[in-house]
Amino acid sequence: MLEVKDIVKEYAKHRALDGVSFSISKGSIFGLLGPNGAGKTSLIRIINQITGPDEGQIFFDGELLNESHISRIGYLPEERGLYKKMMIGEQMIYLAQLKGLSKSQALERSKTWFERMEMETWWNKKIEDLSKGMQQKVQFVATVIHEPELIILDEPFSGFDPVNVDIIKKEILNLNKKGATIIFSTHRMESVEELCDSIVLINKSKKILDGRVSEIKNSYRTHTFRVGYEGQQPLPASPLFNVLSSTATESGTRATIEVLNGASINQVLSHLITQIEIQELVEIMPSIHDIFVKQVTANH
């Protein structure tokens, strides 16, 4: 769907993007992750053709990115905003027309979306009369009204209350199911981790890593497990694992173990099973955030 190749972007003396490359496959939910100031917004603006790269290319559906792609992309900027004094319905139609819809198409789709999001009564209101959360809903609809193939959401859930976050998440997943490719850009990695199937991590203008979330997590496995068992006694020592921590709970003990020397978890399990009454055994997978921190500190 989208291929980003060796993108370099410089502002005066500051290099905002330094040779960033990755690709996004059609129909995926993609996470563009990194701390504030990493270069995410610069990259998104290049994809949206708001600015251009100094070096490198972007391919949209195999074609070099050009003006005809603008109407196929929907963009929700981090800095939200609409015309405060314009009627919401009128504004929706205007924005949809700017994205290339005809007036009748724009009207029809606006009506459908307004019904779907329970905003029918807002048609003749002004943005300034709505609450922040309501404004975000309007803005979300404005982002997707032209049925874009690629939807780019910059910090999508900031400013929403929990109820609306769920509504918006549901709508996004629904659009994805219908074939749209989604890019989430956020510095709050935990907020999109469970939604994304692929990610790219950016820090200080450079790509740190990218790939499928499951693969990344696999390669960053720490072989730690959580073991819950009955009784208060500590786990018996074994050459198969190290006990990292152990806490008493109401129903027994919960310990974190690290499996050593390439032993398999089954070996550990068969060893433990003879000595304690096991309640649970769960592998502790690293979060994207942990991986990010590990990578950043390792690079120093």
């Binding site: 053709q49 100094d54 700017l98």
Partner: protein
Amino acid sequence: MKKTFLIIGREYLSRVKKKSFLLVTFLVPLLFLGMWGGAIALSIQDTGTVSTIKVIDESSLILSKLEESPSLKFEAADLPADEEKDRLKESENQHLLIIPADILESEHMQLLSSQKASLFVQKAIEDQVADIIKETRLTQAGIDIRTLESMEPKVRITSLEITAAGEEQESNAGIAMGIGLFATFMIYLTLFIYGSQVMRGVIEEKNNRVVEVIISSVKPFQLMMGKILGIGLVGLTQFLLWIILSGALFTVGGIILADQMPDTFNAEQMSQMSSADPAQEEMQNNIIQDIQGSLAGVDFPYLIACFLFYFLGGYLLYSALFAAVGSAVDNETESQQFMLPITMPLIFTYIMAFSVLMKDPHGPIGFWLSMIPLTSPIAMMIRIPYGVPMWELALSMALLVGGFLLTTWVAARIYRVGILMYGKKASYKELIKWFSYKR
């Protein structure tokens, strides 16, 4: 292109639909009418306060010949000077005129007043007394006043302008000046009004953060041009409505005024007519014919076409700069530092128009100011009614077009970067840096 039209449409409609637009559109002609009507009413009615003037005439020559007017009453003082002075302190609009016995030689009088005497009162008394003295002296010298008046020459000029076609066209410097000054004033005013509307529009979009949504659909240049052209159309609409409304109101207002005050109007006209001797009447008629002739000689379609060209050219040139300033700041107060270099040429030319250009429209200063694109919309408008050679006009217009293409190009390069810079205080150095960004 289609998107630019969409933007023009939004900018235009959102402004024209506003109540304030309707208000200004209808109030301004009313205001003009009010000012005009007020001036006429004042000059006709003259309902000012009545000043009573007590006169101590030691020469016994003047008092009997002083004529009363609605606002001036003359009375002989019945008390000696000192007591009259005391009485003056307790009264209002009272004056005491002391005419010395040797008034014919000294030509000097004293006017004592309860409040400072107005210039109008002073002048009225001076004029009357001067006439009386003149008459007295003439009589003493044995000269008949009527004979003298009939001998006084009344010279006037009909100035004709040879046009390129060889026709003789009646021209009137006064009318040319009046039209020039009015056109200049309108251009100056509207460049400021609509230019700052563009700036405010840009700042509003930037503050609302809506700008990033829009420029993910259109190019920054399209957004800027759409806004500039949309607001320019608002300006043209307003001009058109003003012209139509003013015309209608002046016609209706004139009828109402003439209808309401026929007595005062006619009485004054009658008194003027009867007092004027045939020669004077003929002269008045000639003057009226003169003005009508000159007005007929004014090529209004040509003037209006020039006015619209210079308004649009100047507007496009300046509004691009205003847009660039708007993109560089976060709020209007911050815009001050960038406004100065933009407003300086406007104000400078405006002052020059009213001082130098008015007196010497075709001098070197006038020529150069009407060539430089930053100053030509104002400078040229004051020169055009006097007649400007075709090649000068063509050159000035070409330079103006070139000028606005240049400023639009420069402004667009600053604008595209500026609109995405939030919370950053821009300096001139920064603007130059933005200008040099590649994309």
